[in-house]
């Protein structure tokens, strides 16, 4: 008898708020405890450092929270399961526990079969090594044996269409070639269980297409897939069942369409404040840390708000702290519909002709004025940060603020045409000319 391929029982994961920022250095750890001791004794309140240290200390001591709690479920072989939930709901954490990257704090999981994840694409690639060398290295990292890689080597190279460059160091590859090679290795893995974490928001369009193609294939082959996405359309299409997570709890595990309906209903009633403060969450890309301390939306008069009139321009402000020099650093703002389709994505370096400068360590405020061409509806804002280099990885914080474009226009504009569908409204210059005698009226 074949039991379930994955059995999750009472899984919980506790994180420590701020665990990534306090005690960054051994020196601070030592001098910090020493100084705060001195200042407690001498009663000196001026030393900021000592006090900060104390504050961090209490934070790390008290502010533990459950990123996941009491998750129990079973998955049978061949099931394709969608995972839904707001940003921070614990979706990635669940996948990380399933792939053994991080250990659960409590509970037990039983898994039968090899697990692979599509986010591992290109992991461990070394720019100095050639394509050939990287195939072997990456294959081994993803869990293939040497003989397996040897057997599939020609196929991998063929699939990536890189025969000519296979002995060139990958640092000379264009980013397209790089992604092709990386993906090709991952595509030749043969896991029994595939984990896919919001692939659709990582990498360029070509890559995203390849990923969803691969997902489709794998699902058709009867393998087990766990798929995190904000794209309701693709979840509805691919998945038989779905899980809805909220604040680390499993709210629902049911037929995909049911869960999607509930998710859309829940998110519709999200807190409607225009400013979101994200504290204490560090994001890292290639070891470099960034914190988005505050993201704010403002209307055309500068008021903080998330309800805009039709054709009323709005702006987005991001306060962020960068802890390490971001090489050719780029900050992006994306707008999605509630079912996850990307409407647009704008990068702060879009107008610089490819001359992208580094963002040095420091605190910044970035401001983006949007010329509003959105049709009435509810949209969600996400932000990205990445280094525009080979091997760069994108930090993506999705579903930050939901905002509404109202059905009533800004002064002096016409009412939007209600019946029309579509997401944006371009300014279109129409002209109608009558062509003489090109048409005979029979």
């Amino acid at each position: 008898m074949s039991g379930p391929i994955i059995r999750v029982e009472g899984i919980g994961k506790k994180y420590r708020l701020g665990s990534t920022i306090s005690y960054d250095t051994l020196r601070d750890h030592i001098t910090g405890s020493f100084r705060s001791l001195c200042h407690i004794i001498s009663g000196n309140k001026k030393s900021k450092r000592g006090r900060e240290f104390l504050e961090n200390q209490t934070l790390t001591d008290n502010c533990e929270f459950w990123a996941l709690k009491d998750i129990s479920l079973t998955v049978d072989q061949g099931e394709v399961i969608g995972i839904l939930g707001r940003n921070g709901a614990g979706k990635s954490t669940l996948l990380k526990i399933l792939s053994q990257i991080t250990e659960p704090t409590e509970g037990e999981i039983r898994i039968k079969g090899r697990v692979a994840s599509l986010l591992e694409v290109g992991t461990g690639f070394h720019p100095e090594l050639t394509g050939r060398e990287n195939i072997f290295l990456n294959g081994a990292i993803l869990g293939m044996t040497r003989s397996e890689i040897k057997k599939k080597f020609d196929e991998i190279v063929d699939f990536a269409k890189l025969e000519k460059f296979i002995d060139t160091p990958v640092k000379r590859y264009s980013s397209g070639m790089y992604v092709r090679l990386a993906f090709s290795v991952a595509a030749h893995l043969e896991p029994e269980i595939l984990l896919v974490d919001e692939v659709l928001s990582v990498g360029d369009v070509e890559f995203q297409k390849k990923c969803s193609g691969k997902m489709n294939d794998v699902a058709k082959e009867g393998k087990t897939v766990l798929y995190v996405s904000h794209n309701m359309g693709s979840i509805a299409q691919l998945c038989s069942k779905a899980i809805l997570l909220d604040y680390g709890k499993m709210v629902r595990f049911d037929a995909a369409q049911e869960v999607i309906n509930q998710y859309i209903k829940n998110t519709g009633t999200l807190a409607k404040t225009g400013a979101i403060k994200i504290t204490d969450r560090m994001y890292t890309t290639r070891g470099k840390k960034i914190k988005f301390s505050q993201v704010t939306m403002r209307d055309s008069r500068g008021n903080v708000c998330n309800n805009f009139l039709y054709k009323e321009d709005f702006s987005v402000e991001i306060d962020f702290d960068i802890y390490d020099n971001f090489e050719r650093g780029v900050i992006g703002i994306g707008i999605r519909t509630l079912n996850g389709s990307l409407v647009t994505i704008a990068h702060n370096q879009d107008n610089n002709n490819g001359n992208i400068e580094d963002i040095a360590r420091g605190s910044y405020k970035i401001k983006a004025n949007f010329n509003n061409i959105l049709r009435p509806g509810i949209y969600s804002l996400n932000i990205k940060a990445y280094e525009h280099i080979i091997n760069g990885e994108t930090i993506d914080v999705s579903d930050l603020i939901q905002f509404e474009i109202a059905n009533s226009p800004k002064e002096g504009e016409l009412m939007p045409v209600k019946m029309r569908s579509g997401l944006v409204e371009f300014e279109v210059d129409w002209s109608l000319e009558e062509l003489a005698a090109s048409f005979s009226y029979i």
Binding site: L26, E103, P104, I109, R110, G124, L137, I141, E221
Partner: protein
């Protein structure tokens, strides 16, 4: 590829079940799992070596140049100026015999203390036994060691030093050096994940260690009553062992001290493994 053997049997019946649950208390090495991942270990070591020799244009030349220059300087300062004893052996050969394990040790701890940080994107994205990272970083230094060994042979020929059968014992002492470096690397690597300034500690250790270990002099210059305490530095035992194999009987180690070094290595190694294994579960969260 759904291997549906018959209607009621599926692939999952043939693959052993893996259980994931929180681990507590002292955790030893899971040798079975390491065996499964042995190829990754060699691949990572191979990568380190390949990258090292590709990146430094002078690659091998550097591996030769560094110890040779150090040897010349030490011979001039300690041998010719300070006129420290050399038990009738050539001072150059004697210094180089010590530099061989010392360079290996210092390179290995430097590399393995960085091995986890520099593989951050592996750690946050893929599972494999993390201990492979410091282990492969340590072993990748073996190539430099081999190159230096060839240089040693050259120096011995040049100085007309005799070759002894006891040189065949060197692999044993190399293992000794390897475990010393690996144990220290486990501690430093795991600490480095949380405290990024461990690098300064390592740099300091390596600089200081070169002078307080018997690299530029023989350990018998240490007063007899301090020798045991002096030998608590594990590299003392390693270096004495190397000199003994290469230079013969008059460099016989001071045995109580030798075993003290040996015990220290064992202790560092065992505690290093335990510390590493009990902190590794948080690596992906805090790195």
């Amino acid at each position: 590829m759904s291997v549906t053997i018959s209607d009621s049997y599926t692939i999952s019946d043939f693959i052993p079940e893996r259980i994931i649950r929180p681990r507590r208390g002292l955790i030893g090495i899971d040798f079975k799992e390491l065996w499964i991942y042995r190829e990754l270990f060699w691949f990572l070591a191979w990568r380190d070596i390949l990258v090292l020799y590709k990146q430094t244009a002078i690659g091998i030349a550097w591996a030769v140049f560094q110890p040779v220059v150090t040897m010349v300087v030490f011979t001039l300062i300690f041998g010719n100026l300070a006129k420290l004893p050399s038990n009738n052996a050539s001072y150059a050969v004697m210094t180089f015999a010590a530099l061989l394990p010392w360079q290996f040790f210092s390179n290995a701890i430097t590399k393995s203390s960085n091995s986890l940080i520099s593989s951050q994107n592996l750690i946050t994205k893929v599972y494999f036994p993390r201990i492979i990272l410091p282990a492969s970083a340590t072993i990748s230094g073996a190539v430099d060691f081999m190159i230096s060994f060839v240089v040693l042979i050259g120096i011995m020929v040049w100085c007309k030093a005799p070759f002894r059968l006891s040189m065949f014992l060197l692999p044993l002492f190399f293992l000794f050096a390897f475990f010393a470096a690996f144990g220290a690397g486990l501690w430093l690597g795991a600490l480095n994940v949380k405290y990024r300034d461990v690098n300064y500690v390592v740099t300091f250790l390596v600089r200081l260690g070169m002078y307080i270990s018997p690299v530029g002099f023989i350990s018998s210059v240490i007063p007899q009553r301090w020798r045991f305490v002096y030998s608590l530095n594990p590299m003392v035992g390693v270096i004495d062992g190397f000199r003994w194999c290469i230079l013969g009987e008059q460099f016989k180690p001071y045995w109580p001290g030798f075993w003290a070094s040996f015990t220290m290595v064992l202790m560092i190694l065992v505690t290093g493994i335990c510390f590493f294994r009990s902190t590794e579960k948080n690596f992906a969260d805090v790195i």
